[in-house]
């Protein structure tokens, strides 16, 4: 009987690995320097586990950001062995090296050690209005029901909605490296995600945000964003589709977007009622 195929086991059997971490202290004269730590490893241990070991056992001053430890929160993005990755998703033994070099994400201001300031990512994300826009302002402020959507309509953007805003794509993007004003793969992919959402009525506002000198036209399709995305999102493709959408819109196609029908809220078996409002619309 054939063995079930699984992930190939790492060839390297190591008892300890050296973590070579780029330390950065904004208050010190020698601001950036590499520090080495010996970390005992066992199968299944991630780079984040190694960093936790260093902080708890070797050097409490090491600073990094992490939360969920399961690739959901997007907090522990860092450059591991020259490639942006999530520390919690990177197995130490799969790197197959006795020395693991860890640096903070590039293309962001650094706060301390492995903690980048992700504010540029969130600011760019806000610019593309990453929420459903309804032309009826009353409906926008206080939705009266569910917006119906077919599985086919959902399929158009589902992959893009897996974005966890970890910021790896911006750190890998060569255009962001030279042009800090470029909106970047994360925001542009999310702009496309909402443009093709059948429940959205705000293409004009969103296209105005991306159809600029530093918007979608500056993407040269390097594809680095897609290469590093830990959730399998394909921002590079989304940006090319966004360009097509913007050109079609500027030529007058797709301007009259019909809103998805609203279905009034009604209790369904097995699904509890929504809680009462704590804040009234417009308060």
């Amino acid at each position: 009987m054939a063995k079930p195929e699984g992930k190939p086991k790492p060839k390297l059997k190591l008892e300890t690995v050296t973590f070579k971490v780029l330390r950065y202290d904004p208050e010190r004269a020698d601001r950036a320097r590499f520090a080495s730590y010996q970390v005992p490893v066992r199968e299944g241990m991630t780079v984040l586990d190694g960093l936790i070991y260093i902080k708890e056992e070797l050097d409490g001053s090491l600073t990094y950001r992490a939360s969920c430890r399961m690739g959901i929160c997007g907090s522990c993005g860092m450059v591991i062995q020259g490639r942006p990755r999530l520390a919690c998703q990177t197995q130490i033994l799969e790197l197959e090296s006795e020395v693991i070099q860890i640096e903070p994400l590039p293309n962001y201001p650094n706060i301390k050690d492995l903690v980048p300031d992700l504010e540029p990512l969130f600011a760019k994300h806000r610019q593309v209005r990453p929420y459903l826009i309804r032309q009826d302002t009353k409906e926008q402020e206080g939705p009266t029901g569910e917006y119906l959507q077919s599985p086919e309509e959902l399929e158009r953007f589902l992959q893009l909605s897996y974005c966890i805003k970890c910021g790896l794509c911006l750190s890998a993007c060569p255009t962001v490296a030279t042009d800090p004003e470029f909106l970047g793969p994360q925001a542009l992919a999310q702009a496309y995600r909402f443009l093709v959402d059948s429940r959205d009525e705000g293409p004009a506002e969103r296209i105005a945000a991306v159809d600029t000198e530093h918007g979608c036209w500056r993407c040269h399709f390097a594809g680095a964003c897609t290469e590093v995305c830990p959730k399998g999102v394909d921002p590079a493709q989304a940006i090319q589709l966004l360009k097509r959408k913007v050109i079609a819109y500027s030529l007058g196609f797709g301007r009259r977007k019909r809103a998805a029908p609203i279905s009034p809220l009604r209790p369904r078996p097995g699904i509890p009622k929504p809680p009462k409002r704590t804040v009234e619309p417009g308060a």
Binding site: T175, T178, D179, P180, E181, F182, D211, T212, E213, H214, G215, W217, R218, K243, V246, I247, Y249, S250
Partner: protein, 124 residues
């Protein structure tokens, strides 16, 4: 230059590239693959009287001007894109856009003038 959105300039860039490509295809068809488009043998197409006849033709001069405009636009838009990435900021953005437009138009005017003079000297 704010009356046209970036998508308009980018679409122009795409069309200018296609125009350049079409002219290249015509040039190859007429001069380097004799008989394909002109229907005449190569020695005849490249002979001095044939070259002078083309130089006198207003349609040749007009096509050169269209080609010049398309390639200048395509090239300067690309250069502007490069510079915008290297020099961010609102002031730099305006300076780069206007600089590229003015230099491009000046070169286009000079190229158009020399094309017209050349056609005239050829007897057109």
């Amino acid at each position: 230059m704010m009356w046209i959105r970036e998508s308009g300039w980018w679409l122009g860039f795409l069309i200018a590239g296609l125009v350049g490509f079409a002219f290249l295809a015509i040039h190859l068809g007429v001069f380097h693959l004799p008989g394909l488009l002109s229907g005449r043998p190569g020695s005849e197409v490249l002979s001095f009287p044939a070259a002078m006849e083309r130089a006198r033709s207003p349609s040749t001069a007009a096509s050169y001007i269209v080609l010049l405009g398309a390639l200048l636009y395509h090239g300067f838009y690309g250069l502007r894109g490069l510079l915008l990435e290297l020099f961010p900021g609102r002031a730099a953005r305006r300076a780069i856009t206007w600089g590229a437009a003015l230099i491009g138009m000046a070169v286009f005017a000079y190229g158009t003038y020399t094309t017209a003079v050349a056609a005239r000297l050829a007897g057109g």
